[in-house]
Symmetry: C4
Amino acid sequence: MATASIKMRLHRIIFGTEPGAGRNFDILLIVIILSSVGALFVDSVENIHQKYGDFLFAAEVFFTILFTLEYAARIYCSPDRRAYIFSFYGIVDLLATIPTYLSIFLPGAQHLLVIRIFRVLRVFRVFKLFNYMSEANVLIRSLISSRRKISVFLISVLTLIVVFGALMYLIEGPKSGFTSLPRSMYWAIVTVTTVGYGDIAPRTPLGQLVAAMAMITSYAIIAIPTGILSAELIQESQRAITNRQCDNCKKFGHEKESKYCRHCGEKLSPPS
Amino acid sequence: MATASIKMRLHRIIFGTEPGAGRNFDILLIVIILSSVGALFVDSVENIHQKYGDFLFAAEVFFTILFTLEYAARIYCSPDRRAYIFSFYGIVDLLATIPTYLSIFLPGAQHLLVIRIFRVLRVFRVFKLFNYMSEANVLIRSLISSRRKISVFLISVLTLIVVFGALMYLIEGPKSGFTSLPRSMYWAIVTVTTVGYGDIAPRTPLGQLVAAMAMITSYAIIAIPTGILSAELIQESQRAITNRQCDNCKKFGHEKESKYCRHCGEKLSPPS
Amino acid sequence: MATASIKMRLHRIIFGTEPGAGRNFDILLIVIILSSVGALFVDSVENIHQKYGDFLFAAEVFFTILFTLEYAARIYCSPDRRAYIFSFYGIVDLLATIPTYLSIFLPGAQHLLVIRIFRVLRVFRVFKLFNYMSEANVLIRSLISSRRKISVFLISVLTLIVVFGALMYLIEGPKSGFTSLPRSMYWAIVTVTTVGYGDIAPRTPLGQLVAAMAMITSYAIIAIPTGILSAELIQESQRAITNRQCDNCKKFGHEKESKYCRHCGEKLSPPS
Amino acid sequence: MATASIKMRLHRIIFGTEPGAGRNFDILLIVIILSSVGALFVDSVENIHQKYGDFLFAAEVFFTILFTLEYAARIYCSPDRRAYIFSFYGIVDLLATIPTYLSIFLPGAQHLLVIRIFRVLRVFRVFKLFNYMSEANVLIRSLISSRRKISVFLISVLTLIVVFGALMYLIEGPKSGFTSLPRSMYWAIVTVTTVGYGDIAPRTPLGQLVAAMAMITSYAIIAIPTGILSAELIQESQRAITNRQCDNCKKFGHEKESKYCRHCGEKLSPPS
């Protein structure tokens, strides 16, 4: 019994439904994650690595042990361990620890160390901490319900990129840096997204004319995803004005003047 | 009779109204198109061309034969052959085959080979496959009904580009790369669309001041097409809601995903 | 009497309220304007100027004579000549002719020739031709009614530019190209508007950090003018659904369910 | 009594609620602020500094004395002096004067002089002058009420930047300028915000592929904050309309510029 209750307590703290200790645990965890990512950052600078490399390695080992303990605790107190281990966060939590161990035992695995930076993905738990979930859900829901429109847009843009890239490969050729079709596509993406590094740029008048047309087109086109998402978010926010729930099918999102559930047809209780 | 029925069957499969075989045909076709475009891509890289050029040429001939057969089949089973041949897709389908034959018989026609990349336009058939047509239509309809506003916007932007380009040609001159009016226009387009390669950039203080003004102006202006399209798409989606009527209580204004009337609880007929 | 009627006829044709001849006159005028601007364009290219300079000069003289005749005709048939001469189009029409005459009599006035490019502003008359006036008016009205919000936005952005520019001048200094405060401001404008030429770029780690902060800020801020204009255009389009006019104060823009004019309080006639 | 009334008068003029003298004071102040900032600007240009440095220094001393007097007057006439001194504007007002005095007494404090540029923040008082406060408030309110959605967006973008930056550090390495993780992050920010200086750019095909993916992602993502703010501003403007009530027929939903009720024709009280 004692073990079960400890396990449950631990679960409440770590997976964070308890106000006091659970919140403190989450804050502490985010501080540690950001510290370990910060250590990775500064360690990648050559000068700092030469001076403080040993200290930063010690810190790294310390952080890794903490993450390992946390990972073990999460597995221990999960009601469904398998589900946790193979969940997105389960894999990210594991990836936060493995590279350091590998780099100790396999000296050639230096490059694997950068994988540790994916620890930063653990920070998304911050949304739970600050009750950002509903806002995140609104954004995700808007993206999902406009996914088809966005797909149509992206396929069109990609086609445009292929067409303009191929044209420029024909017109400019290797002399201006358009050495192959993939490189021309890279140029087209850099241009259409208005990033514009300038590492590859048209030099012939005809090439500049076609490039100008690509820019004007992309300038008009960038309005489309914004329009899609604006329309979606406006609908979403109008829909969400009342958080009214249907007593029958438990679905949310009923307007103030609705009398019947639009999902199951059951009578709704009056709005609060 | 048998011939006629085979022809109709073929038409249903190729032009895709049959669920089973038609869908499989479409998926296979898109895989082949993307493979052939991918082969074009990698073949344009010098290293790969030298190593695998022969293999890729063989693949190319194979793909071309497939496309030729498909083109013949499409002509064969079309009820109105003339209409198909001169339609947009008819021409694209033909362009997918011709360049390879030309390059075999005319050795100098190497450059024509890039035309094959327009095969990628055939991928738009994917919209039909994933039932994206209604979404594509919403976007196209929004663009069409705001075409006049967008024309006004584009004419204004082009005028701005001409004015700023001419000013910079006056101020900066050939020393900073503004060697002619067309090149100054190219600079103005690169700047106003916020691409900003940096291949031509103002060097004199006065030129930098005018360029800064052009940037601030374009920064404020980029909001206009987005605003136009947002307003259009919002109206479009509200219109779709507004026009859905309940068969029982005759009230309008039901959302796309609603199944039951929110006024009387009656089942709604599915949205058109 | 005959003179007066010719004058009125000419006025209807040139200022364009007559369907047949007026429309033809407008189309011809736009073709001539675009031809003369095109001639200016190609003449500014060194190679073309050396080969076809004489022919293009002859064309230029021809266009200028046409514009002079047109300008004279416009003055002749205007009911209020003074008003036309000092109007925006009156000045643009005059500027379309003067530089050529000056360049003939003053050989040093080569640079003035570029002023001729402002002829392109005459093309705005095209809006009248294609009945784009109502769309242009919607856009202009939206810009006017959101001018205060946009002013607030622009003042904030300019302050941000000054602050970030000054910070970078302090941090980077002349070594990285931040040689003076105006140049730093130029850099800040190039960065905040996301143009990003790369002619001046931060080199020190601290400078790159501050520049990154400026970019993230501007990335979040660019949404503001778009939001302002979207909201405005949506309101505008909702308002303009009925072109209902008040019989008393003659103002437009009354909603379908309005019974009284919101400007003067007079009863409205029912919507058509 | 005389002192008290002078103090109150002064307070009305300086803190600007009096129409005549108060408005003149504000305009004069803004002219002086902009002149002093302008002097700073031109003085930072080497050539101008060598020629007119002495004159500009004299002007600077003059401006500083004016600002000192103004600062003293503001403290003198504030009802709650402590509150003013430690307010945002109190600190900015103080920072407008100190650097000049320091540079006179401490010859090495040249760099502090740039701090004077923060005088530009005093210009925000212009909002009060032109009655821009309500527009500024709408924008600020929209930003505040969408701060949670924008936080979610920014955290997601920052995570994306970290992930793409780390990937590029792995793929490209020091040879292409990705010398450390912080520098890779700098590259990622420059790319995702579509600034695109081109001082660091991918050179390997794999690096260009990943960079292209980052660009396409950011292209789709830039729509999110715009959508958020558009939705917010539209709601804001609809709310303002919805909350305006007619005193006569008690109906809501009157637009800002409406003077008469559109339901009963009665005069409306002005919008709050």
